[in-house]
């Protein structure tokens, strides 16, 4: 490896800032492999490595399109390409980041926090009570019936898994796609993933007739010498969701380690300090440690990306593998993944709009960031709309009476038309408002739309799960699913669980990835800004 240290060509005043563009094979292997997963775009030849240390603000020396020649793939923790606008206000100092993120956690929580927490815990209590009742008397308390043996539990499962996807997408896919603005939202989004996957993972277990035997779904050595059926998409689910949860948790925790170290070093209460000391795992911040840390971060991003795509594909296989008209559909995996991104981003927007206000994080979670997210919502909305149209077209074009009955008649004309049209309105029509820039940048608008999107996506799953089962092949079997109050209560309970976790998270953990933000802060030319004090001054 050759390192070239160049003095500024243009003799700028002030300290020299270095920009290293590295494209060594070793250093970029994770990124390279990750990009290969994304479609084989990157093919990194090993070779000697030109290292250029150049002055900041020299446009000509940078690859403007960011794709060229395998360079510049580890920009996560590098300085910005000169032509890109800074992600954050250039006046923000390192110390201020620490303060801005950690100060809201100091002292007693405010009234809003307690109010929200009690509401969430109350909802969770409702859910827990219903679960207890259900375990005692049976699943009969729900609206399930023959033919609709799956109902709101599976709807909730798919819904929450979908919500969970946004976090991984933001932390992994946007990382691989070099979207630096993700640093503003990735911590919250990842936390959301964890909690959403917990909510999601609960439902397949609760919806078992014999929940206490749920461990039979895992292939563990047993005295029956009987394993599991690897043909079943439910076993795939077990593997996919548990892998997803594990990887997401590790990824999230990994990101938290340096921030826990920061918190450890700022904490004075001894027992709290002990906790953060334990959580930060003796993190020192050595440059050699950062090398491994960053490398494994990229590797996690690289494995999480195909994982996140596979998880929702597997979830969609629960349906697509079955022969039920309305489920048996090859479009399901991409359709489900797009829907998951759609609803997940909507959920992130809903949460961030509140969080940035409550924690005064407007400087970090800027309108620009939210607008970018709204654009993604808009894109995925059109994908979802395309999937709807595709389903309807295929049903019509195939002349299959069973498919036509479900996709056209039942969902849009028959007894479930209300749900079908609700999903279409919320998922395909309402997000079209985001074609207007003003709407994308209006907090109130995006908040309302993001909520509607999630309502719509819940009902989209309702339409998929419930209507397809309602009127399948033999007319004698047909039935109509009506959720009972327990069905609704358990949904409320799952939101309670989610928000209970989330509120605890914002209270005890850094809501922004401090180290990552610091790494891409762009200081104004001319040294440290004057408006901020140094922490040790």
């Amino acid at each position: 490896m050759r390192i070239e240290c160049a003095t500024p060509r243009h003799g700028l005043a002030g300290p020299v800032r270095a920009c290293l563009a590295i494209s060594s094979d070793d250093a970029n292997a994770p990124v390279g492999s990750a990009t290969a997963w994304m479609g084989g775009a990157g093919d990194f030849e090993s070779g000697t490595l030109p290292v250029a240390i150049e002055a900041v603000g020299q446009p000509a020396s940078m690859q403007a399109d960011g794709t060229g020649k395998g360079q510049d793939f580890m920009l996560e923790h590098g300085t910005l390409p000169a032509e890109e606008p800074p992600i954050y206000d250039t006046r923000i100092t390192l110390n201020r980041v620490t303060h801005d993120v950690l100060d809201p956690m100091k002292g007693r929580p405010g009234g809003w926090w307690w109010g929200a927490f009690l509401a969430a815990a109350g909802a969770l209590g409702i859910g827990a009570a219903i679960v207890a009742l259900q375990l005692r008397v049976g699943l009969g308390i729900l609206g399930l019936r023959r033919p609709e043996m799956w109902g709101t539990y599976i709807v909730n499962f798919v819904f929450w898994v979908g919500i969970g996807h946004a976090g991984t997408l933001i932390s992994a896919v946007l990382f691989l796609l070099r979207q630096r603005w993700r640093t503003a939202i990735n911590r919250t989004a990842e936390a959301m993933t964890i909690f959403a996957v917990i909510c999601a993972g609960m439902f397949p277990l609760l919806h078992l007739g014999r929940t206490l035997l749920a461990y039979w779904l895992f292939p563990y050595p047993n005295d029956r010498e009987l394993w599991v059926n690897f043909n079943s998409p439910l076993v795939w689910d077990v593997f996919a969701v548990s892998t997803y949860f594990t990887i997401s948790l590790l990824f999230w925790y990994k990101g938290l380690i340096p921030d826990f170290a920061t918190m450890r070093d700022r904490e004075h209460r001894p027992w709290v300090k002990k906790i953060y000391t334990a959580l930060s795992l003796r993190w020192e911040g050595t440059a050699s440690g950062w090398v491994h840390y960053e490398s494994s971060y990229g590797l996690f991003a690289a494995i999480a990306t195909p994982l996140v795509l596979s998880v929702h594909s597997v979830v969609s296989a629960d349906f697509a593998v079955a022969l039920v008209p309305g489920w048996h559909d090859t479009i399901f995996p991409p359709y489900f993944v797009a829907g998951a991104i759609f609803s997940g981003f909507a959920m992130v927007v809903s949460l961030l709009v509140i969080l940035r206000k409550a924690y005064h994080l407007e400087q970090y979670i800027t309108l620009d960031h939210l607008e970018l997210m709204n654009k993604i919502i808009l894109v995925t909305s059109t994908i979802v709309a395309f999937a709807y149209l595709d389903e309807i077209f295929m049903a019509w074009y195939s002349e299959n009476p069973y498919e036509k009955h479900i996709f056209i008649w039942l969902r849009f004309v028959g007894p479930y038309a209300w749900a079908g049209w609700l999903a279409v309105c919320c998922n395909c029509i309402v997000p079209m408002v985001f074609w207007f820039r003003r709407a994308r940048r209006s907090l109130a608008t995006m908040f309302v739309i993001s909520l509607l999107v999630n309502v719509g996506m819940w009902f989209e799953r309702y339409v998929i799960v419930v209507t397809s089962l309602a009127q399948d092949f033999l007319p004698s079997n047909w039935g109509y699913f009506g959720p009972t109050r327990f069905d609704i209560g358990i949904l409320i309970g799952s939101f309670g669980l989610f928000f209970t976790f989330f509120l605890l998270f914002v209270r005890f953990m850094p809501t922004l990835a401090m180290a990552e933000i610091k790494a891409i802060l762009r200081h104004p030319v001319g040294g440290q800004p004057s408006l901020q004090e140094k922490s040790h001054a």
Partner: protein
């Protein structure tokens, strides 16, 4: 520096204890169970010393899914004249005269969803001792084997009753590792 030992040890010890308990409970099954019976009937004396065949008393085992405990009249077949003076035999005789059945304590137990058929196994030449242990050496019957599905399966796979060449195989031959076996391992054989 580093980890205080206690922080690791406590959870580790807990996990270990849980695993041990689970293993003991699971592996043990009910083996060793040997309840006191209302009349201290000794298999050692009858089946061991006197060489009375099992099926002499448990005759139903050949024809019935169950291996019925003999009725009192079977006992009295001998004990009307044999050892009549012993207190336990007097108890037996009194029960027989009063037509009051003896309430034996069950040793071997299978759940309701397991439909084990004694007749089939006796027919196939499986010795009673295969499952029940060396009963002829027991003064009080004791469970010696676990009755788990894995145990059944092992036997069905490894110790098959193979039909004699002259016999026609009556049941569809299942295949296990390419070898035809006669002891079936279809689920419905035990779980109907």
């Amino acid at each position: 520096m580093g980890l205080t030992t206690r922080a690791w040890k406590l959870p580790a010890a807990t996990v270990a204890v849980v695993i041990c308990v689970a293993i003991i409970v699971r592996v043990n099954g009910n083996t060793g169970y040997s309840p006191v019976q209302p009349i201290p009937f000794s298999h050692q004396l009858h089946a061991g010393d006197h060489h009375i065949p099992c099926l002499y008393c448990h005759a139903g085992a050949q024809r019935s899914p169950e291996a019925p405990i003999p009725a009192l009249n079977v006992c009295m077949g001998c004990h009307a004249v044999v050892a009549t003076g012993k207190p336990d035999i007097e108890k037996l005789t009194a029960a027989y005269r009063a037509a009051t059945p003896i309430q034996w304590v069950r040793v071997y137990d299978l759940p309701q969803f397991v439909k084990f058929n004694h007749g089939m196994h006796v027919d196939a030449g499986v010795a009673c001792q295969t499952c029940h242990g060396e009963v002829q050496d027991m003064t009080r019957v004791r469970q010696v084997r676990q009755f788990t599905m894995g145990q059944c399966m092992d036997c069905h796979r490894n110790n098959n009753y193979l039909p004699k060449p002259s016999e026609k195989p009556y049941r569809a031959l299942a295949h296990y590792h390419g070898h035809p076996v006669n002891a079936p391992y279809d689920c419905n054989i035990c779980h109907a």
